[in-house]
């Protein structure tokens, strides 16, 4: 059974600071997604990572994937308040089923 773990579960940071969210998964997968969710809203797709060493960047967010370590990271550079949200990683199994991590609630304070 595929298991996905994120840490930290909660992150409070000052604007302008950098931080990294980690996502570990238990079995081999060929796809990993990062999503953003605002309170009471649905999931917004941020990145999909397909291969070992994949790196994608959008604005202040950068995601990377190490398939050998079964680890993905979401790095936040110079955080701003608008990035406050809950971030989920999700891994696809052989049956195209998405398994989500527990989420990281990010709060960026002025």
């Amino acid at each position: 059974e595929l298991k996905v773990e994120q840490n930290p579960l909660f992150l409070s940071m000052q604007e302008g600071k950098n931080y990294t969210i980690y996502c570990n998964y238990s079995t081999t997968s060929d796809r990993l997604y990062w999503y953003r969710q605002d309170p009471g809203k649905s999931l917004e797709s941020l990145f999909v990572l397909l291969s070992n060493g994949a790196v994608k960047q959008e604005g202040r967010l950068m995601a990377s994937l190490d398939t050998k370590a079964r680890l993905s990271t979401l790095h936040i550079t110079a955080a701003v308040h608008d990035l406050s949200a809950t971030y989920f990683c999700a891994v696809v199994d052989a049956g195209n089923m998405l398994t989500f991590g527990g989420g990281t609630r990010l709060m960026v304070k002025p």
Partner: protein, 118 residues
């Protein structure tokens, strides 16, 4: 943009009742997956429908059932509602077979249905 449409947006039911949630997939998508997201948790996979058949099922009891119609839309039915069924129910559509060249929108999520069981 014809994204994923879910209805209703909010619903309040009493324990023991039955509920039906609806999902229309994004244009061009043929697969629908349903997820349950309890407050403060990540979404949990319920089941996936493709070609009007249930292809995969998560760890949910038989009280949860579904259907996919020829137009690819889908319904989620929950019988004998429990207080613990209160959650946000998300529908996600995708296209199979998965095309690595069009992965950005691999899964498109609807806005969800907030179910409250009292």
């Amino acid at each position: 943009d014809a994204g994923v449409t879910q209805s209703p947006t909010h619903l309040i039911k009493t324990r023991g009742q039955q509920v039906t949630l609806r999902c229309s997939p994004k244009s061009g998508h043929d697969t629908v997956s349903w997820y349950q997201q309890a407050l403060g948790q990540g979404p949990q996979f319920i089941f996936q429908y493709y070609e009007e058949e249930e292809r995969q099922r998560g760890n949910f009891p038989d009280r949860f059932s579904g259907h996919q119609f020829p137009n690819y839309s889908s319904e989620l039915n929950v019988n004998a509602l429990l207080l613990g069924d209160s959650a946000l129910y998300l529908c996600a559509s995708s296209f199979l077979p998965f095309d690595l060249d069009t992965t950005v929108d691999g899964y498109t999520f609807g806005s969800g249905t907030r179910l409250t069981v009292v």
